[in-house]
Symmetry: C2
Subunit: 487 residues, 2 copies
């Protein structure tokens, strides 16, 4: 693409300045904006339409497996946060603290929730009596608050959005099964709806959630080679149960602490969609999540505007009846070329151009976001063919991202090769001894951290033995670990 | 109902202690619970299922008329709130204030949004250039925060939930049309889905929203005769536009301030559902909003449990296929009688009992929440008849509530009659002079305030002239005003 062409889309080339490309795509595609509140964003209608779809899909999926939604207070008493030792250490520096109500100064301040394990644990302790009450399969859709030093829209904002799942079980086995079930949901949804190839795996000890016994994640590779942790699922053991006295009378008539889990994907995943699929022209949205799947641009002159709008509306209604999300661009005072570029920047999968001569010839011109080729399609066929076209685009986005992930993940056995590959923006598969001190040194020297230890049935998850690429000690995981720089 | 029977349902009689009846119904029907955060509640799964349905319905209805969702920060800079003079006066005593992030003390504190006109105005000023950009038709679904002295679940909680609509228009006419369009949506939704008869009307000057030029409301009557303001729609004129410099270049090439509106219904409306439809047995949920429309209770013995569960599941699947929300109660260790009472307390519209002899005879026993009569229905017919049954129940709930509203609203022409009627728990229709000082005195003497001035085409909205029931001055509204005590 020439510089002139890039300028036409109004964003820097992705290959030349990935960071600035991202910032400008988010703003210019109207996904989000900066706000006057430190670290916080405004999610604009186009971005909200994506998030709301993800949110509804998630709520529906949770309910389909017996989970129930609740709303806990946004505020949490400060002394709750300090009850679980690792938890307070992890979150204390990031807390927004409410010290006043009206003119009254509070003796005991509240914090805006950074996550809700503590207050949910407190309520569970009141609701739980017998093993018959279990499991508790709960989730809460809403906002959380964690101060961030450097804002990056969707990726690092002080307020972000998620559905946090929290479950309590009679025993460890059930709780661990829940953790993996939810991880698998996130994996399938990322793959099948968001067209994101992600690696399921277990986090190493140093990368666990504050308060967890074990953390699993899905990790995606962005177009700059950096990793984005795109969802997590935690087995919390009895840590929070003991901190909040969440006990029940078991089948053996004795008192037991519950085993708990928590899991979430957040609005960060919109960043993953942008950075996995985007190109020099801007966004590319997978059809299954795109708020607009097909945009119709009527080509009008002053004397035929009404007729062309009517024809476009008719086609839009037919496509909508077939279950597609369609927009007709009737903006005035801007050129067709501007409209084309604008919808390409916004990543709409399919554009239909409808001109007066097309109308006479009973054809339309169809162009995929992914191709420069325009195709003339019979007006009578366009609705019938759209489903297959959208599915092809969905699959192509996934395939391209998977190819990229595989091409940019290298297997290394020496620390020199490790450093060179990381420096070149790759993910690395290497053996590691599991020593947190070694992970820390590697991070200091290369800025790369462990992503996860892929599951056995996952890409890169093959069992294999070897010696640590950093310390030469035996591998701790029976397979290679993935390292990479991260968002 | 005897005392013994009342005790069976576990709640006080509605007629004897309405206040305590309400509190216990909310808790025992598992709608919500008290939380460890001052003034805040926990919305439990059954309550969340009601609210989430209302929320989705509202979002879908807003979108159908061209509105778009956004997410603005929960926090608002304190100095934003002070920019609109009436607004700060209205909200200052209720504000939750964030003064610290981590260990850093903030120079400029933030408040948790009591409503979002201010921060939305600030963003609009940045987004708006020309009249071509208008109207802005925005809404935000989420939580708001207003300190409350006395907590009452759903009705008065420091954190509550709503979808706040905010729109900006080129001129007053469009803005006022928007205000009425949204009021009508709330009116129709209350009537047709929630079975709540509500009176649409304009608030008097003293009862306007802080910062509004004109406020409209829908007002419902609870079973104790008190009013609940169940939704509001405000014409804000150019007040917020001027405070936040929301200007555009008009068709005349000159700069103009926008005219703005805001409107909302909130989770308070769940309180209205409970207090409008509930009876001595507990909740009664209108079928269109009930999370469970039909509960099936299989009557089991130890030797037939599996067969009865299978038969119940089969019936449930058929009802679900027909679009109904069904639950099979398979709880063990509790009696059938307990289950019946529990689902009546929870207000499920229809119960089906399925016993082994019914199964053999190919019948089921159907009982409406509203009637003591049990009806034996052919198994083959039950699915086909359910839709009509649910619609009949929906309509009956509305009719009963409308009768109650009409019976308990009295027309008075003297202040003595006014006071007597209010004391007897009625709404009063009376002429009023419009003087805020007189309204204030009436409120002090009778605890009754103006509800609204009903629209011309609304129940009680007939144009009529007369003199003020309190001051003897001419009526200000060309019709009678509604007064009542309120939540």
């Amino acid at each position: 693409m020439t510089d002139a062409k890039a300028a036409q889309y109004g964003v820097p080339l992705q290959s030349e300045d990935f960071n600035e490309w991202y910032n400008q795509v988010v703003i210019k595609a109207d996904l989000a904006d900066y706000s006057p509140v430190r670290g916080c964003m405004v999610v604009k209608p186009y971005g909200y339409a994506v998030w709301e779809r993800i949110n509804r899909d998630m709520e529906d999926a949770f309910r389909a497996t017996g989970h129930e939604g609740l709303l806990f207070p946004t505020l949490i008493p400060m002394n709750f946060i300090t009850k679980e030792a690792d938890h307070v250490e992890g979150f204390a520096p990031e807390l927004f603290t409410v010290t006043k109500i009206g003119t009254e100064v509070l003796e005991e301040p509240y914090v805006m929730r950074p996550t809700s394990e503590t207050i949910i644990g407190h309520m569970w302790a009141q609701w739980l009596n017998s093993y018959r009450d279990l499991p508790f399969l709960h989730y809460q859709a809403g906002a959380v608050f964690r101060a961030e030093l450097r804002t990056k829209l969707f990726l690092r904002t002080a307020e972000f959005y998620w559905q946090e799942g929290h479950t309590a079980h009679e025993n460890e086995g059930e709780a661990r099964a829940e953790v993996l079930q939810q991880l698998d949901l996130y994996h399938r949804y990322s793959r099948d709806v968001l067209a994101l190839p992600v690696i399921r795996g277990r986090k190493t000890d140093s990368e666990r959630f504050a308060g967890a016994v074990e953390t699993y994640s899905i990790e995606g590779m962005m177009r700059d080679g950096k990793a984005l942790q795109s969802g997590t699922s935690h087995y919390l053991g009895q840590n929070f149960a003991k901190a909040f006295e969440v006990k029940f009378q078991g089948r053996d008539q004795k008192e037991h602490y519950v085993h708990t889990t928590s899991w979430a994907i957040s609005s960060r995943i919109i960043g993953a969609i942008i950075m996995t699929h985007g190109d020099d022209k801007g966004l590319r949205l997978p059809p299954r999540i795109a708020p607009v799947q097909v945009v119709i641009v009527p080509i009008t002159r002053k004397d035929n505007t009404e007729a062309m709008y009517a024809a476009a509306d008719e086609l839009a209604a037919e496509l909508a009846s077939a279950g597609h999300r369609v927009r007709v661009d009737k903006r005035e005072g801007v050129s067709n070329g501007f409209k084309y570029n604008d919808w390409e920047l916004k990543g709409v999968p399919v554009r239909i151009e409808l001109g007066p001569r097309d109308l006479e010839a009973s054809v339309v011109v169809v162009k995929d976001r992914d191709s420069d080729a325009k195709e003339t399609v019979s007006r009578a066929d366009v609705v019938a063919h759209m489903q297959a076209r959208l599915e092809r685009i969905q699959q192509a986005l996934y395939d391209r991202a998977l190819d990229f992930l595989e091409e940019n993940t290298v297997t290394v056995d020496t620390y020199d090769d490790f450093k060179a590959a990381i420096e070149a923006g790759k993910w690395v598969r290497a053996f590691h001894c599991g020593d947190p001190e070694s992970e820390k040194q590697i991070a200091e020297e290369t800025k790369a951290k462990t992503r996860n230890v892929p599951m056995d049935d996952e890409l890169f998850g093959e069992p294999e033995e070897g010696v640590c690429v950093h310390t030469g000690k035996p591998s701790a995981y029976g397979k290679r670990v993935i390292f990479g720089r991260q968002y």
